[in-house]
C-alpha cells in the first residue's frame, strides 16, 4: 500500500473540517439552497400526469418529446428529462397495480407496476404521450403463502383484489410539485358501471338481466387473453423494450446512417439503438415487381422477412451492462398476402382485384404538355381520390380474409457486455416464436366463419424479477404452447382456447401449468347478447411440478359482441 504523504493528510483534514462545518451551518444556508433549487426548478419543463379510471395514462408537456421508456420485469418506466411534475391526477386506473412518480434530479421518472405478465408501450403525439397497457399473458406470480415463485398463466379477470406496493396512501396533488417527491398509488377495485340513461330496448333488457340471480352485466371475455402472436420486431421484444424512436430505413444509405449513429467513435454499440427494416426490400426492392412477387416463393419469403436490432442498458441504477439483440420475423406462408393476385376472389376478397377496378391513373393533361404546377394539381387530385378507394379496398378485403391461413416464425438472439465493448459480448439467451393460423380452406361450412391458431414459443435465459427477493433477478427458460379455435358470426359465436407453460428456473426447479377456457355468445337483440363462459385456470397451488386448477362458469348479458371473430 502506498504511504500517505504529509500534504495529503493535511488536505484530508481540511476537507473533513469543511464538511463538518457545512453540516453544522446547513440551517443557516438552507434559504440559499432553496433559492438555488428554485432556480434549477425554473429551468425544468412542467408536465401534467393524468391517469384516468380506464384507458391510457396521459403525460402532457413539451418535455415529453424527449421521453424514453423501457420495461423491466413487471415495471414499465417512462423517464422525462429536464422536467418537473406540475400536476398529477390519478383516478385509480385498474390496468396496472400502482404508479410511482419520482423526481430524480432534473428528470421525472414515472414507474407503473404492471399486472404480472402485462406490458406497456408509449404512443407519442404532439407534446403528449400516452402509456398504453396490454393485458397479462404468461408470467410469474408470487404465492402469498410461501413467497415462492409460481409460473402461471395470469388470468385477466383477476382485477378485484386490491393490490398494494410500498405505500398505500395517496398524497394530495400539491405534494407532487415538490422536487424529489415520490408517490405510489395502489389501484382499488374497479368501479361499478354507470347505468345508461337512454331507455332503449337493450337497456331495458339489461335492467331485467340485472334482476336475474347469478347473471352479470358486461361479462368480460376473460378467457380470450392468451397472446398467440409473433412479434414483428423480435429484437425489441426479447429485450423487453418499447423504443420511442425506431429507425425504419427506406434506403441503404438511411440504413447505414442509422447503424453508424448507433455506434460510438470506437465502433461499440451505444444504448437506445432501435432499427427495424426488411433487408431484401431495402437493398433490392427496386427490382421486385408484382409479377416476380407472385411467381417466386423465395421472392415473397425474402421480401417479407423483417430484421430488427436493438440495444439497451439495464433497468437498475447499478446495472451498467449493455444488451444487444437481433431479430428476424419470417412469414413462411400467408394466403391472405395482399400482394398476391387472386382474381377469382373478386374485388371483395382480393386487394389487387379491387385496386384494378377502382384505382385510376392520374387524369390525362387536356391538350398541351402540362406545366409543373398543372402536373402537381393532377397528381394531388389522383392521390386524394385513390387514397379513399385504396383504404376501402384494404378494409373490405381485411374483413373477408380475417381467417386466412398463414404461418409466421421469429427468432431473436441476444448478447450482453458488462463494459460496453463489442469485443466482450457474451451470449444472453434468445427467443423463438411460431404461429400457425388455419382458415379451414376447402371446408365450406367453416371457411368463412372459423379459425384455428396453434402457437409455440421458447425463451432462454430470461431475466425476471425474483418474487422472493425484491430487486433481484433470476434466470429462467420458458416454453409455451397454446391454441385457439374460434368460430361465429354476428348472431352466434364460440371460442375455445388452451395453453401449457413450462418454466425452468436454474438450476433444476421446473414449474408447469395449463389452462383451458371456452365461451359462447348469442345475440338476443341489437346490442344485447347472452354470454356463457367457463373453463379452468391457474391458481395458487403452492407446490412445484403440480398442475393448478381453478374452474369457473359464468353467464351474463353484454351490450356488445365480444366473441364474434369476424371483423365488423
Amino acid at each position: 500500500m502506498r504511504k500517505q504523504t504529509g500534504s495529503s493528510k493535511n488536505l484530508g483534514l481540511v476537507l473533513a473540517v469543511v464538511g463538518v462545518l457545512t453540516v453544522i451551518a446547513c440551517p443557516s444556508i438552507s434559504a440559499r439552497c432553496r433559492f438555488a433549487e428554485g432556480l434549477q426548478q425554473e429551468n425544468l419543463r412542467p408536465i401534467r400526469v393524468q391517469i384516468p379510471a380506464s384507458g391510457p395514462a396521459v403525460i402532457e408537456g413539451a418535455a415529453t418529446r424527449d421521453a424514453v421508456s423501457y420495461q423491466s420485469g413487471n415495471r414499465f418506466v417512462v423517464i422525462i428529462p429536464q422536467a418537473s411534475v406540475a400536476s398529477f391526477q390519478n383516478d385509480l386506473n385498474n390496468e396496472f397495480l400502482s404508479v410511482k412518480v419520482e423526481q430524480r434530479g432534473d428528470d421525472v421518472e414515472i414507474s407503473f407496476l404492471l399486472r404480472q405478465g402485462g406490458s406497456g408501450r408509449v404512443v407519442t403525439a404532439a407534446d403528449k404521450i400516452s402509456v398504453v397497457f396490454a393485458l397479462p399473458q404468461v408470467a410469474l406470480r408470487v404465492s402469498r403463502d410461501d413467497n415462492e415463485s409460481q409460473p402461471i398463466l395470469a388470468p385477466r379477470a383477476d382485477t378485484s383484489t386490491p393490490s398494494s406496493t410500498t405505500n398505500n396512501s395517496v398524497p394530495p396533488a400539491s405534494d407532487l410539485s415538490t422536487p424529489a417527491s415520490t408517490i405510489t398509488t395502489p389501484v382499488l377495485a374497479p368501479r361499478p358501471p354507470v347505468p345508461q340513461a337512454t331507455p332503449t330496448l337493450s337497456n331495458l333488457l339489461q335492467g331485467i338481466a340485472g334482476l336475474i340471480p347469478g347473471a352479470s352485466k358486461d361479462l368480460e371475455a376473460s378467457f380470450s387473453n392468451i397472446d398467440l402472436s409473433v412479434p414483428e420486431s423480435p429484437a425489441f421484444t426479447v429485450l423487453g423494450v418499447t423504443p420511442n424512436a425506431i429507425a425504419r430505413p427506406g434506403t441503404p444509405r438511411e440504413f447505414a446512417t442509422s447503424l453508424l449513429n448507433g455506434l460510438d467513435k470506437n465502433g461499440n454499440f451505444q444504448t437506445g439503438l432501435a432499427i427495424d427494416t426488411a433487408p431484401y426490400m431495402l437493398f433490392n426492392g427496386q427490382n421486385v415487381t408484382l409479377q416476380d412477387y407472385n411467381d417466386y416463393y423465395l421472392t415473397r419469403l425474402l421480401s417479407r422477412t423483417q430484421f430488427s436490432l436493438a440495444t439497451t442498458k439495464g433497468a437498475a441504477s447499478d446495472d451498467t451492462a449493455t444488451r444487444l439483440a437481433l431479430g428476424l420475423n419470417v412469414t413462411l406462408w400467408d394466403k391472405g398476402d395482399a400482394r398476391v393476385y387472386h382474381p377469382k376472389r373478386g374485388p371483395d376478397g382480393d386487394v389487387l382485384t379491387c385496386f384494378k377496378a377502382n384505382i385510376q391513373p392520374p387524369d390525362a393533361p387536356s391538350s398541351a404538355m402540362p406545366t409543373p404546377a398543372e402536373i402537381a394539381a393532377i397528381n394531388a387530385k389522383a392521390i386524394a381520390a385513390n387514397n379513399k378507394v385504396a383504404d376501402a379496398c384494404r378494409d373490405k378485403v381485411r374483413k373477408a380474409n380475417w381467417n386466412a391461413t398463414g404461418w409466421v416464425i421469429a427468432y431473436a438472439p441476444s448478447w450482453i457486455t458488462k463494459n460496453g465493448q463489442n469485443t466482450s459480448l457474451k451470449w444472453n439467451g434468445g427467443a423463438f416464436w411460431s404461429s400457425f393460423a388455419y382458415g379451414f380452406d376447402g371446408l365450406s361450412s367453416l371457411h368463412k366463419i372459423a379459425q384455428l391458431i396453434v402457437h409455440a414459443r421458447y425463451r432462454s435465459n430470461e431475466q425476471v424479477a425474483d418474487p422472493a427477493r425484491p430487486g433481484r433477478f433470476i434466470s429462467q427458460n420458458s416454453s409455451f404452447f397454446g391454441g385457439r379455435f374460434r368460430a361465429g358470426n354476428p348472431a352466434f359465436a364460440f371460442n375455445f382456447e388452451a395453453a401449457y407453460v413450462r418454466n425452468q428456473i436454474a438450476p433444476s426447479r421446473t414449474f408447469t401449468s395449463g389452462r383451458y377456457a371456452f365461451g359462447a355468445e348469442a345475440r338476443i337483440t341489437d346490442n344485447f347478447y347472452l354470454v356463457v363462459t367457463g373453463g379452468n385456470g391457474p391458481g395458487d397451488a403452492g407446490a412445484s411440478n403440480k398442475g393448478f386448477f381453478m374452474s369457473s362458469f359464468k353467464y351474463g348479458f353484454n351490450k356488445k359482441s365480444q366473441l364474434n371473430p369476424q371483423p365488423q
Partner: protein, 131 residues
Amino acid sequence: MPENQVPIVQIKKNGSVPEIKLTFGFAQFASFRILLWDTSGHNPTEVAKATNLPGEPDTFPIGTSASDLDGRYITWQASIASPTGAPGQQYSQTARFMQDGANCPTGPFTQSGPFSNTTATFANARFQVVT
C-alpha cells in the same frame, strides 16, 4: 416544362417501331397511362392505359414507325398504391425504351421515393431520330 429539361430518347430511323417498357418495384400496384404527343407538345394520343398486375403486358409499341417519332414527346403517368397500406412504403418506377429488341442508348428513366397509401407520378421524354 423547359425544353432543355426533357430527356432525349435516341432511336434509329431504319429500326423497328420502338417500344416502352414500364416496371414498378417494391411489389407495389400501379395503374398507368402512356401518351404520345406531337412535336409541339399538343394533341396527345393514348399509347396504353393498363395496370402492372401479373399476366398483363408491360411493354407497348409507340406509334407506327420510328421515323414518324422524330421530335415528338411521350409522357407516362402512374397511380401507385400499396397493397398492404403499411407505413414507410417505397416506390420505384422505371421506363425503358427498346428498339429491335435492344435498349435505346439513353435511359432507363427511373423515379423513386417514399410514400404512404398511394402516390402519383409523371415523367416525359422526347424522341430524336438518328441515322
